[in-house]
Structure formats: C-alpha cells, structure tokens
Symmetry: C2
Subunit: 270 residues, 2 copies
C-alpha cells in the first residue's frame, strides 16, 4: 500500500508540474497577444516604396491576421484596394467588387491594428470629406500620436476608387493610378476604415487621413475620395506604438526612397 | 504487479506530458526572444520631441533591457548621454564620467537593439568622422533600411560631448546644449556605438549617423563629435524592423512636432 500511495503522490506531483508549466505557456501566449499586438499599429514597408512602384511584398494575409483585424493597404501587383474590417480582409478589385482575401495572398504595403474604441461620437449631416476630417481632427487629444478611425453609418454619397493589377516593369504609383476606376455610391450604409498619422510620420506613411470604404453588405467599396455623411458613429483607437517591417527584397532595397514625395502622394491620395 | 505497472506507466505519461509542455513554454519564450526582440530596432519617443524639450519619459532601463543590449539615448532631465553596450547601459555625465545605469532610471529618448553582426571589416588610418561615415556608407547593401553600427579599436583622437541635467521649465535642445561639456581623448581604445537611419526616417529619428563613444575601460565617453581611427573593426547589424513607442505623457502630447527640425537637429548633433 505504501508503494502505491507513493506512486499516486508522484503522479499527482507530475500532473501538478504539467499544469503549472501549461499555465506558464498560456501566460506567454496571452502576453504575446496583449502587449505586442493589440495596441500596435503594424505596417508592412513604407508608402514611399509603394509610390516608387515596389508592388510585390513577401508578407501574407495569413501573417497579417496575427497583427491586426482592422486596416488598409493593397496587394501584390497593386491588385486593388485592401480593407481589414471585423477580422476579415477584403480586396476591392478594379471593378469595385469586394472579395474575401485568401490567407496565402501577399501585400507590398499594409497598415493594421486590433481595433479597440478609445472614444466615439455620433455625427450627422457632414457635407464633405474635408468637413469630416476637420470635425474628427478637433476631437483628437493630441496631434502627436497615431489613430485608427472607423466611421460606421448612412452616407448620402461616397466616391471611391480602385486600381487594376500592374505588369512588370512596374510604373510608379502616380502613373499606375491613371488606370484607376472611380465608383459613386448614393444612399449607402457602410464603414470608413483607416488612420490618421502625425506629420512627422510622413516619411513612412501618409500624414493626416487615409481611409478606405466598405459597404454594409461587404460587396463593394474602395479608397475614399469624397463623401457626404447623413448619420454615423465615429470611433477612434489611440495608438502609441508603431511597428514597421521592411521587406527583405531586391525591389525594396533598390528603390529611390530619398526624394521628398509629398506632391506625388497628394496626387495619388486625393 | 499489474496495478503497480499501470502506476509506473501513468507516471511516465504524466512526466512525458510535463516535458512536452515545458518544451512548448521554452519554444514560446525562444520565439518571443528571436522574432520580437533581436531583429527589431526599438525606439522610445521621437528625436523631434527631444528637440522640443520633452526630457522626461516613463520607460525604465529595466524595461529597455527587454528590447536590446546595444544602443544610445539619454536620461530623464537630459542627464547625460546614454550608451548601451555588451548588455549594460552607461551614463556619460556632464563631467564625461561613465556610470552603470540603475534599472529604475528612466529615459525620454532611446534607441536599442540586440546586436548581431551581419557584416564586419577591418579599417585603419581613417582621418576624420566624415571619412569614417563615407567609408561605412559605401559598404551598406541598401540606403533603405536601418543599421546598428559598432566600431571597436584604437583611436588617435576622439572628441565627444555630454550635457548636464536640466531644470523645469525645460529649454529646447538647441538651448540646452549651450551648456554641453566637450571631452578630447588621444590614443584611446574604445567603441563607437550607434545607428545609421534612412533619410525617410528623419521625422522620427536622426537620418544618417548617430554615434556615441565609450572607452575600453568603460569609464568615459560621450556623444561623438569627431574622431581619427588608427585601427578598428566595423561591425554592422542589418535591421529591417522598427518598433517605436510614444510616451503616454502630457509633455509629449503638447509638444509642437509639426515643424521641420532639420536645421535644429544639425546644430544639436554636430
């Protein structure tokens, strides 16, 4: 009986060790999630590289899922506008049609985060995209950090664009968008998804606003050019951590990222 | 015997589970180390905020240790020049004396990484800091990523500076460095520690070189102003990930980070 009792005790100790170690592993996993992902704006490459025609990147959407459930970007070959929303990534192709993005697809430029609302407000009858920008900007606590922005509601009007896939040798983005398609929506429910970045970030991302649109049915949308808001909820996620991964890739390494690209960026974004 | 044999088997299974789970926990820890820390340039705040006189920050050196064993920066109240080297952080105070930094001290601006040599070269008889910069720049595989740089050897001459702690209300950095002390070293062994950053990073860090000096005995050093190299080994760590954490702090939020600070930066760095 003594021997069996010892055996039971040993078994109990071994199981206790297993449980303790298992909970440690879970703690590691949980911390990895909370500290490294949720409050971090994760960016693939730079906007400057995209302007220079670096349209292929090594990061898959499967990997992007690990860094955020909300954001925007594009696809390899510049094949449309990307919107990350509610945990899914969508491609708005050159016909303005939204498709779920397979995990194996890759992106040359993307910005994502896990969206947690830090402030929200109801707005109505905002006549232009400019007015919307000013309205939101007034509510930001400081111009010195990054914000993820989500505007959900009823729009009288939305004007958005997308771009077709490009062929090598890739043209610069100012050239590529000459092929852009522009879509107009009237009386549409949907969501604007994107970011506001401080001016000092202009070397790596778009200073100020960059928003994409997805309609409520998740069937169409694009890069936002203009809008008129009937009624919407504006949600903002304060983001003080910025994590940028530069692609390990000959195209990126060879791109001329030195010149000031503000004028080109303005032509591309508006 | 059957019962005892079962007990032994159960014990063996329990121990096997414990070992499997333990190795999982180790794998988590190892991955956390390799993918999130070692290849990442970790930065506290922005150089622009430091120029504007944001001299207090919430990040301790205890926390900084988790993000790197190599780098540079400063201390709360701008109390000297910081060098991270060989796993330790040093303060070069206004008298030019190097002290080990206690974990509880805090920093308003720091850049660190875990240094892993990707390329190295022996150099000799480099007459000026400008010449050294050009010599290293020629060997960089691309101007589009960040590099950690370590130059270890014998120097005919080193000119370095440090700054005294400031009092609130804090002056801007261009004002504060009017109080700087300049130190000259002749025939000294030691190490230059720092970074080379792409031009597009100029909004958040110093574009080009930023190096600090620590002598071999780790007793003195400072922010590098000039040097003449007799013989040294240049080691370079390619860094394609950049992780910036902005302080959650009223001073930072209120600073004017919008204006172009290149001229001020040039006066402060040289």
């Amino acid at each position: 009986m003594q021997t069996r009792s010892n055996a039971v005790r040993l078994r109990a100790v071994a199981i206790a060790i297993a449980l303790a170690v298992l909970s440690t592993a879970w703690a590691f996993a949980a911390e990895a999630q909370s500290t490294e992902d949720r409050d971090v704006l994760f960016q693939v490459s730079t906007i400057g590289a995209l302007l220079e025609g670096v349209y292929d990147g090594p990061v898959t959407f499967g990997e992007l899922h690990r860094h955020g459930d909300f954001g925007l970007g594009t696809f390899n070959r510049l094949d449309g506008e990307m919107i990350g929303f509610g945990g899914d990534f969508y491609q708005i192709n050159a016909q303005g049609v939204a498709n779920r993005v397979p995990d194996r697809w890759q992106t040359p430029f993307a910005v994502v985060t896990f969206f947690d609302t830090d402030q929200s407000a109801v707005i109505d009858r905002v006549r232009t995209y400019d007015d919307l920008q000013q309205l939101i900007e007034k509510t930001l606590p400081t111009p010195n950090i990054c914000y993820a922005i989500k505007v959900t509601g009823q729009f009288d009007y939305v004007k958005a664009r997308s771009v077709p896939a490009q062929q090598r040798p890739y043209p610069k983005l100012v050239e590529a968008i000459k092929d852009q398609s522009v879509f107009e929506f009237r009386n549409v429910r949907g969501t604007l998804v994107g970011f506001w970045m401080p001016e000092y970030m202009k070397g790596v991302n778009v200073a100020g606003y960059h928003l994409h649109f997805l309609d409520e049915d998740r069937t169409s949308g694009g890069h936002l050019l203009e809008c008129r808001v009937r009624e919407a909820v504006v949600e903002i996620d304060y983001t003080r951590s910025f994590y940028m991964v530069l692609p390990e890739q000959a195209d990126f390494d060879a791109a001329d990222l030195r010149s000031d690209k503000e004028k080109e960026l303005h032509r591309v974004e508006k």
